[in-house]
Amino acid sequence: MTEPSGGRTHRDGVRAVVPLAVAVVGFGVSFGVLARAAGMGSVAPIVMSLATFAGSAQFAAASILGSGGTVVASITAAVLLNARYGPIGVSVAPSLSGGWWSRFLHAQLTVDESWAISAEGDGRFNPKVLLGAGVTLYAAWVTGTVLGVAFGDVIGDPSTWGLDAAFPALFLALLVPQLRDRRAVGATAVGAAIAIVLTPFTPAGVPIIAASLACLLGLGKRDETPPEEAGR
């Protein structure tokens, strides 16, 4: 179903991300509920979802404010969680060929899920899939936030429905086709190991950025290309 091909369109991006969009609406509702409970009012959470579009960072910021944390602590946690979009943006950059405003738009619609779905598996990303998936997820996130702020706890906790497991399952499904050579397998193993080892010792967000360092395995290893790849 996700056969890598250059021919995927916006619609493929929308279609691929619909099941995740359902989960994202659920978490948008949770964010709306949590943000209201944290004393953020009803307008600020919606503005935050419109302008930030990064679920985990918004959850962190709201929960720290709600538990009496400082503004600085709240901002720091959110920025750390979003720092992964630095390396993610760098990975997408060569695949974006439009003008600066088009690149800016694609960049803003890049979240974990739209980024992962748009990967072609060879290091390139499909901008149309990124845009289609990104717009769908954005609509889902903002809609969920509005529903959560408006209707509070009428809708239950999305983890009751197992929706929190949908995200790692998606990332795993999109990781497997990337394991094409030894270096990719190595980067996967090292990235996961870094993330797991750092999780107990560092603030949330740090393990994921640190894991991106595993990409340095790509340096100076050209001559160790496995035999089956040598013909390229």
Partner: protein, 103 residues
Amino acid sequence: MNATWTVVVVVSVVTIAIKGLGPMLLGGRPLPPRMSAVVALLAPALLAALVAVNTLGGDRELVVDARLPGVLAAAVAIKLKAPVLIVVIVAALVTAGVRALTG
């Protein structure tokens, strides 16, 4: 500006900048070969970290809970070449089921 709006504005502006920086500066032209070899490994490294943190991550601790059987079931579905939609649904159903039984 009160605390809430300070957080909303600062986090939004910083996030927009972080997301936009790479594509604005590097976009539209191919990277040098050595750098593209590094960038090509960003996807597997970050995806692996996202799988690990979303499966086992807690509040500054590793947690084994109902997410793990869900993700393991997803791995089996992937091995059986199930479509992504099915993989995601299997994970959610197994996690919801385990949670209902143990909760």
